[in-house]
Structure formats: C-alpha cells, structure tokens
C-alpha cells in the first residue's frame, strides 16, 4: 500500500465534482420539503434533466444552453407532479414514485437518438490570481462554472429561507398550512413555486451528470443519485449548509474509496464500497437520537382550503 499515491489536492477537487449533482438535487428538494411537499420524483426529474440538457447541449453546441433547458425540463416535469398533488389532491408518495418511473421512461425515449454521442466540452474556469494560490487554488478555483453555480444556489437558498419574508412564508406554509391559509397566504401557489424550484435544481443536477461528470448520454445514467439526494435532505435536517456538508461528505467518501482501492489500501474492498452508505445511515441515526429532526410540520400532508 502506498497512500502517498493519492494526491489530496486532486482528491478534494474531484470530490467537489462528484458531489455537485446530488448537491443540486438535494438543495432543490430541501426547499420543496420546507414548503410541506414530499416529492419522491427527484430521480425522474434528474434523469429528464440529464437527457434534455444533453440533447440541447449537443444540438446547440453550448453546455450553458443545455443547463438552462435542463432546468426548464425539470421544472416542467415537476409541474405535472404539482398539479396532481396540489389541485387533484393525489397522494404525494405514490405520485412522486410515479414521477420517477415516468421520468426514467421518458428520458430513454428522448435519449435514443443521442446514444453514443459526445457532449460539447465545458471549459473549466481557471480563475486568474485565485487559481494560482498554492494548495487552495487547484482545489477551489479551477472548476467548471456549474460547481460555483451550485454553491451560489446553496447560499441564496439559505439567505432566502432564513433572512427574508418570502422564506418565512414558505416555512410557515410548510410548518402549518392551515394557519398559513388562515393568515391569507396562498398555500398552493407557494408550494407550486417551491416544486418548480426543486424540479429545476434536479434538472440541473441531472444535466451535470450527462454534460460534465460522465459526459455522455447513457440510459439510466443517474443510477439512483436522486434517492441519495432525498436521504441527504433528511441527513441535513432540512438546512441548506448541512445539505452542502452532506453532499460533499457523501461525494468525498465515494471518491476516497475508489482512490484507496487504486492505491491498494489494506482495507477490504467490501467495506470501502459500502462506506458512503454506511456513513449516511450512521449520521441519520445520530441525528434521530438527538430527537429534533427538524421536519416541517405539514410535510406530506394534503392541503384543502375548505377544511
């Protein structure tokens, strides 16, 4: 074993890349759940974002346009979910699962002509001056723009949720929709917007997989990242910065275990391979033991204005 072969700088840099898709999807879902809606369709919205982002990226030659289209596609798909659960009062769990299945099928249909094609490459931002700082430079300042976009989204989400009136209303709707309704807030409208935001973020996360991380279109390529994102929301107790922590922890362990294997670490491979999931479960257990989970009060409950 020679752990010296693992370059910690490259490891940290690839950690950020590996974590970005789940980070994007999880921050979106955190907002949706904060508004009191449980959308289990994250995987379906991600994969749809992945295929639409890839298709538009290939056709226009611009990954940036691809990302915008992916966000729009994710949001559009989430509106299907929104109408079903908010206006037709369908069961959120069943509808969310249905959305995942629908997204997986839809994406293979759209993706058929794009199999085996290559994505337009996305230039990395080699930020001048900052990128040249020893140690920190390569880790923090030489990524593709989406890594920074994801961090900005987390920061903005945190600010809006905790420091603005709009965030207060959204949290109020999520904690007790009857009270919010009685105060005159438009519960359905707030939730619809939150769901659209969640869909757009999931779409971006999916497109990050197909345009940057892999980068190509392969059927079923998100391979469960949407479910990990859902777990990370709980892991984070619905708090934006903890979502970031959770996603980077998960991404970090995923990348680290591959590096340890390649370096021939004397740890059984089975343990390394399961480590990201074990750590996630362990942290969930620790959080549960502390009692206060921070789940929004109206999470998953159906709202009807006349009740």
């Amino acid at each position: 074993m020679d752990l010296g072969q693992i370059n910690p700088l490259l490891l940290l840099a690839s950690l950020m890349v590996a974590a970005t898709p789940i980070l994007l999807a999880a921050i979106g879902e955190a907002v949706v759940e904060k508004s009191g809606v449980l959308n289990l369709g994250v995987e379906g919205m991600m994969i749809t974002g992945a295929v639409v982002g890839f298709a538009i990226g290939v056709n226009t030659g611009s990954p940036a346009v691809g990302f915008v289209a992916a966000a729009a596609a994710g949001a559009a798909l989430s509106m299907l979910f929104g109408v079903l659960v908010l206006y037709l009062m369908s069961n959120q769990v069943a509808t969310g699962l249905g959305l995942t299945l629908f997204g997986l099928g839809l994406s293979s249909l759209i993706g058929k002509p794009y199999e085996g094609m290559k994505a337009p490459s996305m230039a990395k931002w080699d930020i001048p001056v900052l990128g040249d700082i020893p140690v920190l430079g390569p880790i923090l300042f030489r990524h593709d723009p989406m890594v920074y976009v994801s961090l900005i989204i987390v920061a903005v989400t945190w600010y809006v949720l905790t420091r603005t009136r709009a965030g207060l209303i959204l949290r109020g709707v999520g904690e007790n929709h009857d009270a919010a309704h009685a105060l005159g807030y438009k519960v359905v409208r707030v939730r619809l917007l939150a769901i659209a935001f969640g869909g757009a973020c999931a779409g971006l996360g999916g497109a990050y997989v197909s345009l940057v991380r892999v980068p190509q279109w392969v059927e079923g390529m998100t391979a469960g990242a949407g479910w990990i994102a859902l777990a990370i929301v709980v892991f984070a107790s619905w708090r934006p910065w903890r979502v970031l922590l959770g996603a980077y922890l998960f991404g970090g362990i995923t990348v680290l275990q591959l590096n340890l294997q390649a370096a021939g670490a004397a740890i059984p491979v089975e343990i390394l391979a399961m480590s990201p999931y074990v750590v996630t479960i362990l942290v969930l257990v620790v959080i549960s033991l502390r009692g206060n989970h921070g789940a929004p009060g109206s999470l998953g409950r159906i709202f009807h204005a006349t009740h």
Binding site: I6, N7, S14, A18, S121, V209, V214, L258, A262, V269
Partner: protein
Amino acid sequence: MRAVKTLLASVAVAAGLSGAAVAQDATKVGFIFVGPIGDGGWTYEHNQARLAVEEEFGDQVETIYQESVPEGADAERAITQMALAGADLIFTTSFGYMDATVAVAEKFPDIKFEHATGYKTAPNLSVYSARFYEGRAVQGHIAGKMTKSNIVGYIASFPIPEVIRGINSAYIHAKKVNPDVQFKIIWAYTWFDPAKEADAAKALIEQGADVILQHTDSTAPQAAAQEAGNIITFGQASDMSEYAPMPRVSSIIDNWAPYYIARTKAVMDGTWESTSTWDGIGAGMVGIGEITDAVPADVKAEAEALRDALGSGEYHAFTGPLNKQDGSAWLAEGETADDGTLAGMDFYVEGIEGEIPSS
C-alpha cells in the same frame, strides 16, 4: 396458458380449418437483460443479437425482453413472469441470474433456458459464455507495450471467475512485454453505473495510470479518458468505436448472434439439448475490434499475430510457466490451463498486487 392454447388448437381443428397455419404459432424467445439496451456495451450487444434472431426468422419468431433486471431475488420474479408469458426459450444474460434461472427452470420443465457466463446446468438449462480472456490477452499485450508510466488501471465489476480471468490474462500478457508493469485494480461492484465508472477511471488516471481497461458496461470510462488526454482504453463488450482512434485503440466485441440463432433454430426443430458452450476468438464469439493507428505498426502487428494464434488454437492465453499470486506453482513450462480451473478461477497470478475481495 398452455391449456388455453391446446383448447384453441382443438377448436380450430374441430372447425375444420387447415390446422397448420393456426396451430403453428411463432416461437417466443425471451431475454433478461442486466442493463438498459442502450448501454453501449454488454446489454447492447445481447440486444443486437436478439434483433439478429428476429431478422433471421421473421414471422416465425417473436422476441420479448426485459431491461435493467437487478441480479438477485427480483430476477426470479422477472424470469418467472417471462415463462408465464409463454416464452419457449429464455436467455438470461448475466452471471448473477444463475441461481434464479436454475430455480425457474426447475418449475418450467417444458421451457428451455440459456444462462450466460454461469456454470449450473439442468436438462432444460444450457450455459454459454465467451472466452473473453483471449481478447484480454491481446489488450494486455498492447497495454504493456503502450504504457509509459508502467501503471495500468483496471475497472473490475464483481469478483467472479470471469472477471478474475480477464485481469489475469491481461496482466500475464502485459508483463510478458513489459516486466515493470503494475496493475491498479478498482472493484466498482456494479456492471453499470456511468457516474461511478467515470469516477473510478478518474481515480486511476490521477494515480498515474495511462492505460485503462474496464470490465464494466458503459462508455463512461472512455469519455473520462478522452477528457484527461493521452490515455488509452479498450472498448468493452461492444466496439465503442465512437471513441476511436483515441482513447479507444481496440476492443473486445461480443458476438452472440450466431449462437442465439442456432439455439432458436434448435428449439424450432425440436433438437434443443442442454449444452455448455464456451467459444472464443476462433469460433467468432469474441471479436477484436480494429486496432487504431494510435498504436505503433509493430505493436499492432504483434497484437494481430497474437489474436490469430489464439484464434487458431496454436497458443493458449494461460500457458505455463505460471505461478499463483502466493508464489505456489500453477502451470509448468508449456502446460496450459484446463477449462475447469478457468471456469472457477478465484486467484490472481504472481505479480498482481492486492487481494481479490471474497464474493
């Protein structure tokens, strides 16, 4: 289902119809796939072979398939469902379906089953596989000659004999032409997860590998290698020629079509028997994709000579002297490995570092 068919057939005869056209319904062939048919690798090739069966027999055959069936308990349900749907012949195309296929075959003695890459047979269950390790030998040769860092990265899937054979074969032939070569192996524990495969390829490249061999099914490692630049790869299961001439410099192509056609024909003719088939380059089940110009002409010529020698049977990929990883003798000078040992291979050959995870 069967009762209904019989009933319909007798009704048809009773009605005085010219029985033949009505009673002779198409032979139904089912396929269970481990990944999506668009994976660009393993499942893609099995599906191409399915299409070849349709092409060959036209209206006489009807094919059905199910994609992305997980290996494990759920596989049994999927296979049973296919049997109940009236399939006459079912191909289960991944190692992990072995026990499920055995269990379902026992319940449906009149249906023929074919399991890929396994070793358990029954009167109505055949096994078939390809000698991919012959292709790995050619890859190992090119890898050993081409590597500058002397580090070859290998993305392995599950610790099963088929994968271990591939690693050993590639290593033996890389070592033969480059005594300093070192293999870094990552067990991905998946056949298909593009993001994970890409991460594994990146981790190997970051640790100095300039050749990436993969035993997983997607083209993601090819894309990762292309992005990193100056890395060579090999197409796995399918040609993956969209990544030629660099990084993909050659490939192993699985060609299942002749086998699937022959077995379907056997079911139609009523001559189907339980068999164990293990064909290689010689029989055309394993193809070596075009070696691109990124490989120097002399290396290309050597690789092609090796391919032909393996194909003609003049050379065996596991020819002694060879020791096991622990240094104990395995094959003496000139001795070749028997199929039994190869089929159950659970050890590395001497020189490979690391341990095989217990499966």
